[in-house]
């Protein structure tokens, strides 16, 4: 090619730029360290004699994290520095007490554990993957996503090079109806799918204020993903990344300013017809709660021509069946019914409700989603306060804080950066180069309940 006419390459590998966005509101100390002061004083006197007033030795502290490095040493420990290593308790068990602080233990609600809240805060603040030594420390398996393990490959895989960026692992997904055959009459029409670089969008913020919605919108724009809102107020930053939830009154606004993707509440069948004729170039997604009949409803909607389904559980990840079950179980049912009826590739599935940790993204995809939406997690990243139970979509007990939208956007970019990196870890371990391959691939997962039955077969129940 003539070098004069050659255009500079536009290729840029997808990467999420994280940078520290520290907590603006003070977070509780995880550990509460305290000393029995009289015993501490007695110990100092004792050591002064023992080490013949050698100040350096007497005042050398058991803590390598500087908790006793303040002016008053152990009399006024710098509690925020404590990482719970317990060495001070080992050395001075009669003086020191270290426990999980009450304010830490009060974090979250019946679903959001203090550990999960801390994880999200730290991911949003640092943009770094949580790393710890000495093995796993939590419960064994469990319900919902905790009862799913992802596979790994001993030999054939894209290699760890994927994690360090030397080999590309794609996390892009398509939203919309994939053409099932070539239609030459439609060649010049708008594409039927939109590609987003991470399989995560921001669902409608459970409770919010202007700056929070701005932060979400800005983060979506930076990440190249989307955010959902019912609000009709156009935001300052433009609606390019907005997925509006449309009703009769808002269709007309959208005719004037079309959105690439729109959602509507699935129980309004009449709206779908109107949307289809009014917004022929938009991807139309039906939003519906997950319950025992969702599979049948999903198939019906797919046949009617919707381009996607946004299946949601409550904010604790429980569906709306008479006997609520976890979103992982109900997603599988819908996915498998669509597969069985030959409809799965005609719709995109977005899953939301209870997606609160990085590991939930690949697990929801394994259960059949194409991508996920996050909701209360956004508020946690933005340091909203828990005021009670967050489960109910119509009455979520979280109180958003006043925030600077730029700060909020960076926190959300950090969170998505860390989740993206963790998704790569999971895909890399499995030997997958493309997250799209993971969809519904239950064979690359292991379920606690099934493994228990297989491996503990023959082990009698205790009487």
């Amino acid at each position: 090619m003539d070098s004069e006419t050659a255009k500079p390459s536009k290729y840029e590998r997808f990467k999420i730029e994280t940078k520290p966005a520290r907590h603006v509101y003070q977070i509780p100390n995880k550990f509460d360290v305290s000393a029995k002061k009289v015993r501490l004083a007695a110990m100092l006197v004792h050591e002064a004699f023992e080490y013949k007033l050698n100040k350096e030795v007497v005042l050398s502290r058991p803590c390598i994290y500087g908790v006793f490095g303040g002016r008053f040493g152990g009399f006024k420990p710098l509690k925020h520095k404590c990482v719970g290593c317990m060495r001070c308790v080992q050395e001075y068990p009669h003086i020191m007490t270290v426990k999980h602080s009450d304010s830490y233990k009060r974090l979250g609600d019946s679903f959001w554990t203090p550990e999960a809240v801390f994880t999200i805060w730290n991911e949003a603040s640092t943009g770094k993957i949580p790393v710890k030594g000495m093995g796993y420390k939590g419960a064994f398996g469990g319900e919902g996503f905790d009862g799913i393990w992802t596979d790994m490959s001993e030999i054939v895989r894209p290699t760890r090079d994927g994690v360090y960026g030397r080999e590309y692992i794609s996390t892009s997904v398509d939203v919309g109806r994939k053409p099932t055959s070539v239609d030459f009459n439609k060649i010049d029409r708008a594409p039927s799918t939109v590609e987003i670089p991470v399989p995560i969008i921001f669902d409608k913020v459970p409770v919010g204020n202007g700056p929070i919605r701005s932060a979400v919108g800005m983060a979506a724009e930076k990440l190249g993903t989307f955010y959902i809102s019912r609000s009709r107020t156009p935001f300052d930053f433009g609606p390019a990344n907005l997925i509006p939830i449309v009703d009769e009154e808002t269709i007309q606004d959208l005719v004037e300013r079309p959105a690439a993707i729109v959602e509507y509440d699935a129980d309004r069948a009449d709206i779908f017809e109107k949307l289809r004729s009014a917004l022929p170039s938009s991807i139309v997604i039906a939003r519906l709660p997950l319950h025992e009949d969702s599979g049948t409803v999903a198939c019906k909607l797919a046949r009617e021509g919707v381009h996607g389904l946004h299946l949601y559980a409550d904010y604790h990840g429980q569906d709306y069946s008479k006997q609520p079950q976890h979103i992982s179980a109900s997603l599988k049912v819908v996915h498998q019914q669509l597969v069985k009826e030959g409809l799965r590739d005609q719709v995109t599935i977005i899953a939301s409700g209870g997606i609160t940790l990085a590991e939930h993204v690949p697990k929801a995809i394994i259960c059949g989603a194409d991508l996920v939406g996050i909701d209360t997690t956004v508020l946690v990243a933005l340091q909203a306060e828990f005021k009670g139970e967050t489960r109910d979509r119509t009455n979520c007990q979280m109180k958003p804080r006043e925030i600077d939208p730029e700060w909020g956007a960076q926190r959300l970019v950090n969170l998505m950066g860390v989740w993206h990196d963790q998704l790569i870890e999971i895909l890399s371990a499995m030997g997958m180069r493309d997250v799209r391959r993971l969809r519904g691939d239950i064979g690359r997962s292991m379920m606690d309940a099934e493994l228990r039955e297989q491996s503990f077969k023959g082990i009698a129940w205790a009487t």
């Binding site: 080490y51 080992q90 796993y136 596979d151 790994m152 895989r157 297989q454 205790a462």
Partner: protein
């Protein structure tokens, strides 16, 4: 004595004293200690066993944790068995069941897992090597090379060959009674090792033939292995360099762990070592530890049953690791179908680990285990560490003998695959 020595002495003494006093519960159960897998009681019980060589007598729970699954929900049947004298119970297992090759037996169904120089202190490594020698078992170098200081213990040291090939030299393979190929590890299944830059001191860099204070990543997987045939070439390579060595193949626990095991057997492995997803000592992303690969409790029966169905079970040794904390866990591992097990975290707890997970923060471990900090490393005197690890294994032997005697079993080999003795 200079101030630095005095400071090290002061804190070593205080830590040792604490490890003695805490299990007495004189000051109560430390509220911030432990977690669901390693509960405060299990940690203190391990301190006590490491001190005395006896099982705790003050009611401290030393058998199970609080994880709500796996080992923690398995118990033992407790009636209808003709008991035998504990002292007659044999705990030894063989590490080579093939007709060819050297015969090796260890007196307990346990050996020490890979923890590499650089990720742990040399003093802790020495303590482990000395304990292995004293007991007559083995410990693995991990992937960080073979420090000269452990050469005197080489008859009890397994040389690990991992993907980074750090410190793998002809002589370190020739030293080894057993060579361990690490294909994968439970702490980060499907992901390679990662030693943070801060830990790569001049000694570590020299050992690994790398640059100082530069992060070291091990690739994953072996870039020279893409099939069982390639894997066999690896095994042949080791057997050529050291024909007397047994070969162990360490893998993680994917869905097809049974296929991986049979492939390793046909490639010539003497030991198939499966490392479950919840274990490991190395620093790893939390997402990997919790979510990738199946727990060892589920993998053992799957592999054991498959090897039985293929008719090769009695020609290969199945060793399990990954979250094995107690003598009861060891016995359960064997009842589920393994021949024996590998432990590492428990050895760290024996010398004062609190399972706090701060191994990679700042200067590394505050009590000298996972650190290369010159001052902190000195908290573990190798002789003291050796005694503690030997004591722990001694206490475990007592518990193992008591379990076996209770079922009328004369040898730990007779426990293998006896799931009928377990209850859930």
């Amino acid at each position: 004595m200079g101030n630095l020595e005095l400071i090290v002495e002061k804190h070593s003494e205080r830590i040792h004293h604490g490890l003695e006093v805490l299990p007495t519960l004189r000051h109560g159960l430390p509220a911030g200690l432990g977690n669901k897998r390693w509960t405060a009681e299990l940690i203190l019980a391990t301190y006590e066993m490491a001190l005395t060589g006896e099982l705790p007598k003050n009611g401290l729970e030393y058998k199970t944790g609080d994880s709500g699954g796996g080992f923690d929900v398995l118990g033992w049947k407790n009636n209808g068995f003709a008991k035998i004298d504990q002292n007659t119970v044999d705990l030894s297992i063989e590490l080579n069941k093939r007709e060819e090759g050297r015969k090796i037996e260890i007196p307990l169904p346990i050996y020490g897992g890979g923890m590499s120089f650089g990720s742990i202190s040399l003093n802790f490594m020495l303590a482990r090597a000395r304990a292995a020698k004293k007991i007559g078992t083995y410990m693995s170098t991990g992937e960080g090379g073979y420090p000269d200081a452990i050469v005197p213990y080489r008859d009890h040291v397994i040389t690990q060959v991992a993907t980074g090939m750090f410190g793998v030299r002809e002589e370190t393979i020739q030293y080894a009674p057993i060579v361990e190929f690490k294909y994968a590890q439970g702490a980060k299944p499907g992901l390679g090792g990662h030693l943070l830059a801060d830990k790569v001191t001049s000694e570590v860099a020299k050992m690994r033939e790398s640059s100082m204070f530069t992060s070291l990543y091990s690739p994953f997987p072996f870039h020279s292995v893409y099939s069982v045939e390639d894997h066999k070439k690896h095994v042949d390579w080791i057997k050529t360099v050291n024909p007397r060595a047994l070969v162990s193949v360490k893998v993680s626990t994917p869905t097809d762990v049974d296929m991986v095991a049979i492939g390793s057997y046909y490639a010539g492995a003497n030991i198939i070592h499966i490392d479950g997803g919840y274990g490991g000592t190395g620093a790893a992303p939390e997402i990997a530890k919790k979510n990738i690969a199946m727990p060892i409790e589920y993998a053992i029966p799957k592999v054991h049953d498959y090897l039985v169905s293929e008719g090769v079970r009695d020609q290969v040794v199945l060793i399990a690791s990954g979250g094995i904390r107690t003598a009861d866990d060891i016995a359960k591992v064997i009842a589920l179908g393994a021949d024996g097990c590998v432990v590492a975290t428990a050895e760290a707890v024996a010398v004062g680990c609190t399972h706090c997970g701060n191994c990679e923060r700042g200067r590394g471990c505050q009590v000298g285990i996972t650190t290369t900090d010159p001052e902190l490393s000195q908290f573990i005197d190798p002789e003291w560490g050796e005694t503690r690890i030997v004591n722990l294994f001694t206490a475990w032997s007592k518990r193992l003998r008591s379990i076996l005697a209770g079922f009328g079993l004369e040898s730990v080999r007779d426990l293998r695959g006896r799931r009928d003795l377990l209850v859930r």
